[in-house]
């Protein structure tokens, strides 16, 4: 075993060389963005894209933030993402609880209906989805986007939670039922605490996906005041496209929350990938 994976000095050097090369590929765009977002003017970006700024212009970030109304976009993205997390964790956990612990006639059919949602992407249903959202009067409202984005994340969430719950013994719940506890109490007092690790994964995946979503808001939102940050960035680009240093600052403002979230929870992200990787 060890002989297969152990490296001699020469091999180690070679492996390091390749890994460092790929590290450069990954970090090059991000590093360039950080460096050039701090330059005082466009000329310096053109002349010496790899040089340090002559003056460290941290106020580029303030300019981008104010100039593009990033504050409003940020708040919209936060509202959408947090609402999706609350709705998806609640709705998916109640469904998973009933499907796994209180199956009924037709529960297999219900499970199959969710299965269909895992495999057929919601983007393809753009036309009927638009008809439904329009007829409910939810076009161009945050509520409409929140409901559609939550619904699009339900299938994967239900899958993660049902498979987790199936692996947990039902003894505690049975004991509670013996004591006369009703499903509401069992769900709230026993099941929710039990599935907390899986709920955390679902919450994380939902938050990141909701924060990053571009297509669904693009379809349903018209008023710039409702835009989340992904659409807001497109607006910003129309205005500042030629001012590269400000563009880089704007892009970084958009990236920072996800990078921070990732560095805080990189282990959960990497595990969530293998669990939630059923659909992108």
């Amino acid at each position: 075993m060890d002989r297969l994976f152990k490296l001699s000095k020469l091999e180690q050097a070679l492996v390091q060389l390749i890994l460092l090369a790929y590290t450069c590929v990954v970090l090059f765009p991000i590093g360039i963005a950080v460096l050039n977002s701090l330059k005082p003017n466009l000329g310096e970006v053109y002349k010496a894209p790899f040089g340090l700024p002559s003056v460290w212009s941290f106020n580029n970030y303030a300019t981008a933030w104010v100039g593009a109304n990033f504050q409003g976009f940020f708040v919209n993205s936060a509202i959408i993402s947090l609402a999706c997390v609350v709705i998806v964790t609640f709705c998916a956990s109640t469904i998973a609880f009933v499907l796994v612990r209180m199956p009924f006639r037709g529960s297999t059919l219900l499970f199959a209906a969710f299965l269909l949602g895992v495999v057929i992407p919601i983007r393809l249903t753009l036309a009927p989805l638009f008809v439904i959202v329009k007829s409910l009067g939810l076009l161009d409202s945050l509520l409409g986007v929140i409901l559609v984005q939550s619904a699009s994340m339900m299938p994967v969430a239900v899958f993660i939670l049902t498979s987790f719950l199936r692996a947990v013994p039902a003894e505690l719940e049975d004991a509670a039922r013996m004591d006369g506890a009703l499903p509401f109490q069992i769900y709230w007092r026993v099941v929710l605490p039990l599935i907390r690790p899986a709920l955390a994964t679902v919450a994380l995946l939902t938050f990141v996906q909701a924060w990053n979503e571009y297509f669904l808001p693009l379809i349903f939102l018209r008023t710039p005041a409702n835009y989340p940050i992904t659409l807001g960035m497109s607006q910003f680009r129309l205005q500042f496209d030629v001012q590269w240093h400000l563009m880089f600052a704007g892009i970084l403002i958009m990236l920072i929350p996800t990078i921070v979230a990732f560095l805080l929870a990189s282990r959960q992200f990497i595990e969530g990938l293998t669990q939630g990787g059923v659909k992108e």
């Binding site: 075993m1 002989r3 297969l4 994976f5 152990k6 390091q16 890994l19 590290t23 990954v26 970090l27 765009p29 053109y46 894209p49 790899f50 109640t94 469904i95 209180m102 009924f104 219900l110 299965l115 269909l116 895992v118 495999v119 057929i120 992407p121 393809l124 249903t125 753009l126 036309a127 009927p128 008809v131 439904i132 559609v148 939550s150 619904a151 699009s152 339900m154 049902t162 498979s163 199936r166 009703l182 499903p183 990053n212 297509f215 992904t230 960035m233 497109s234 680009r237 892009i251 958009m254 990236l255 996800t258 990189s266 990497i270 990938l273 293998t274 990787g277 059923v278 659909k279 992108e280």
Partner: protein, 304 residues
Amino acid sequence: MALKYNQKANLQRIALLAPGVLLYGIFNFAPLLGLFWVSLVEWPGIGPMKFVGLDNFATLFGNAFYRDQLIKAFANNLIFFFIIIGSMLILGTAIALLLSFRSWGRNAYRIIFFLPYPLAGAAVAFLLEMVVRTRGPLNAMLKNFNIIEQPIAFLGDPNLALATLASFYSWHRMSFAIILILSAIVGVRVHLIEAAMLDGAKRWATLKAVVFPVLAPAFVLITVIVMVDVFNNADYTLILMGPEGGPVRSTDIMGTFLFRSAFGGSATSTSVNFGMAAAIGLFTALLILPAALFLALRNLRRKD
């Protein structure tokens, strides 16, 4: 009269199911079924709908204007897919293999390589577009090292734009391949490797005989997920090239074609029809159905 326990339990079960079933039913499942119905109407987004039967399909496959767009978008989508999956499987396997050795700092590398994955597709698109501009840093670097004399218009050249967008996708999603392949390598049963090594097999022979065969499931999974994704998701193209998939439709893929048919390519478009969009959506869903069914069956097996 007070309800019996069972009656109460049944009522509460319905109450527990209701929010999730309604949410998913209205905003995800109904649109799926609605594809069949909307594909039979003509509707520009406002005003009354007109029932036209199978006309949308007849136009899509029969009318040269639409058929040519469909063929072009599908062909581009295939090229896009093969560039992505090729780079992800080859580079992903190589990197995962190097990370599985006792290489220094392999945990740090793992985190660095994973960094692009959680970023928003929109942000990645904006960022990498800046990097590959003709006056941008990538061209500047290539010039510094005397690799090129004239800057390359990565996204402006119809011959390069699609491949450039594909490489954006690979940059963003590479860690997905790395992580899945790495966990397959790590999961190889130890005694098989030991047996092979005891037989005196060299490292490369051992890898070939014992490790590579177990990578097949990971390869299939990555291929299927990427296939489903790139045949419906056109974020990079929409953001950077617009719904017309420019330059000269060289980056047009199924997702942009679908979007264009519903919302038009530009403000002056007249031929918008949600029925056509539904027909294209249904056709694309059928195309990716084998891949989708594979994923569904895998999930069903996994739950046991």
